[in-house]
Amino acid sequence: MNIVRNLWVRITTRFTFIIPFLAIVGPGIITANVDNDVGGIATYSIVGANYGYQMIWLLVIMTVALAVVQEMVARMGVVTGKGLAALIRENFGLKITFYAMIVLIVANLANTVAEFAGIAAGGEIFGISKYISVPIAAFIVWLLVILGSYKYVEKVLLFFCLIYVTYIISGFMTHPPWGEILKETITPKITWNSNFFIVAVAMIGTTIAPWMQFFQQSIIAEKRIKIRDYKYERWDTHIGAFLTDLVAFFIIIACAGTLYKAGIKVESASDAARALTPLAGKYAAGLFAIGLINAGIMASMVLPVTTAYAVSEGFGWESAIGRKFKQAPKFFILYTLFIIIGASTILFTKISLIKVMLFSQTANGILLPVILILMLILCNNPKIMGKHTNTPTFNAIAWITVIITIALTILLITATIFPNLF
């Protein structure tokens, strides 16, 4: 009888956790998954195709770093009920906010262009012209935010997150050697050449990007998550960090098990999807391409929304997906402009995608150190965070994470601007 009672208590205890968790879940998982955008998928494809399983161990470190950074913004969002841009303006003044916003706009615009390029490339794998796929995708993402409430948009984005499972399936379809993969995951291996370091740094750079901090904190503020529910949001953030790198893990596996073994080098995610067809079958390649289109659609919605949130918060304008156009006109105009510019650039110009991505990588790299340091200062300010400031242990981990991320980002920018230096 006792056993049954204990079991019942255990089940109900779990149940009482799961229900509120399901109500809170969203900001952390969505933000982390959008991180696997077109640029991210390209980077992981290149890592798998060029280095096999050799760099998988880095994912473990990246997951921890991502969880640490995003947990801080989640906590700030819950405690203050404000977005990161609003906190920066209120605590550091106009100048810092203004320049941070300029760089964020430039980086996010370049990223948005890259996302629409991913949608175009993914569509072309299935024989759909970019003149059909891009306008349709742009219209759908625009309509979702303009007409939808926050809850509706969140549900749609969570559904899109599920589509990332296509990468996990295509990873399994390549019949990976699990023993070898496990060994590579737990034994760090470094190749002492400049290319290895640049790819490793690019991998970290694509995982922790400034838009993520702005986006997650803003949607937490819009969702009005209370401090009493913070533990669920922390779980949401940590699970998100784990899932995003799990997807990255399977992208690397899919490319390492096929392209690397066949000695095929790729430069983009669509190259990888095409190259997978003869090696892993048309279904694996098709799933890979579906994942790419999905990533493009998600990010082409989230990046303009992030920009609209950040700029509106910085200048004090009303900013919320849940508001009507009349109540937050500047927010929705910014969002619309971003989508129009992003989609039109892909449709009507012959811009080099690689140059766009390098440009966005540099802009992100310039902004990230500033944002991370401001975040740490804010997170340690008891006037803002009350008793929820960083603990000394967490601070030590956070500062180490931030310093390493900053150092690697500087290395990445240097390698991007001066490619012949290393």
Binding site: G81, K82, A86, R89, E90, G93, L94, K95, F98, S312, G314, F315, G316, W317, E318, S319, Q327, A328
Partner: protein, 221 residues
């Protein structure tokens, strides 16, 4: 006069014309219809006395509240100089009262919301006028001009306005339209839900001031 342009960063000199520090902030008392300054927040070059008692070693990086009664004149405010009536040793400071707000901390950069809670803009500058040897806060600058001045973009803005034949907007919310301060949210609530009607209105009590002339000018246009 604008807070960020003329007051913040001004040099504070004592009655013997010796520099003692720079103005970091101002404190105003919000009890009256238009808030009056009650303190200068001064970042001291060095602190040699506390309550008239000399310190063994001067303290550095200290901020001090100097009561407004001890401020002599600020007629040289355009040269960014504020003169005290007393020597440093004679300064008698005290704590902030319940209705007192620190301008840079509690007003500047805060979000302005309508009476219905809709975000409108942020305070880009704070406008004071001189009256009976006090500074009186008359309005909050929320337009492009405050932003341009704070960012130091005056000359590019002038060129742009000449090229585009368009003047950049000067928008001021008169203080008497402020309903409530929400310090925990760092927001300032207006008494109206229609923002466009209250911006750039005349505050008749202080018509002779340059800021008011500006508002008049705007209205005549």
């Amino acid at each position: 006069m604008r807070f960020t342009q003329y007051l913040r960063g001004s040099v504070v000199i004592n009655n013997k014309k010796e520099r003692i520090g720079i103005v970091k902030d101002l404190v105003v008392n919000t009890k009256s219809k238009f808030p009056r300054t009650t303190f200068l927040v001064v970042h001291l070059d060095k602190m040699e006395f506390i309550g008239g008692i000399e310190l063994i070693e001067p303290a550095k990086n200290v901020k001090m509240l100097i009561p407004w009664e001890q401020v002599g004149s600020f007629k040289d405010y355009k040269d960014k100089k504020i003169k005290l009536k007393v020597s440093f040793k004679q300064i008698e400071t005290r704590g902030l009262g319940p209705n007192e707000l620190v301008v840079g901390e509690n007003i500047l950069d805060q979000q302005i919301i309508t009476s219905k809670g809709i975000g409108l803009c942020r305070v880009s500058d704070v406008i004071f006028v001189e009256k009976n040897n006090h500074l009186v806060l008359i309005g909050l600058c929320v337009g492009a001009s405050g932003l341009i001045e704070q960012l130091g973009f005056e000359w590019p803005a002038k060129i742009m306005s000449k090229v585009l034949l368009k003047d950049y907007k000067e928008e001021i919310i008169p203080w008497n339209y402020i309903k409530e301060f929400l310090p925990h949210k760092q927001q300032i609530m207006l008494s109206s839900k229609d923002y466009s009607k209250i911006v750039s209105q005349i505050i008749s009590d202080y018509e002779d001031d340059e800021a008011i002339k500006l508002i008049h000018h705007k209205k005549q246009k």
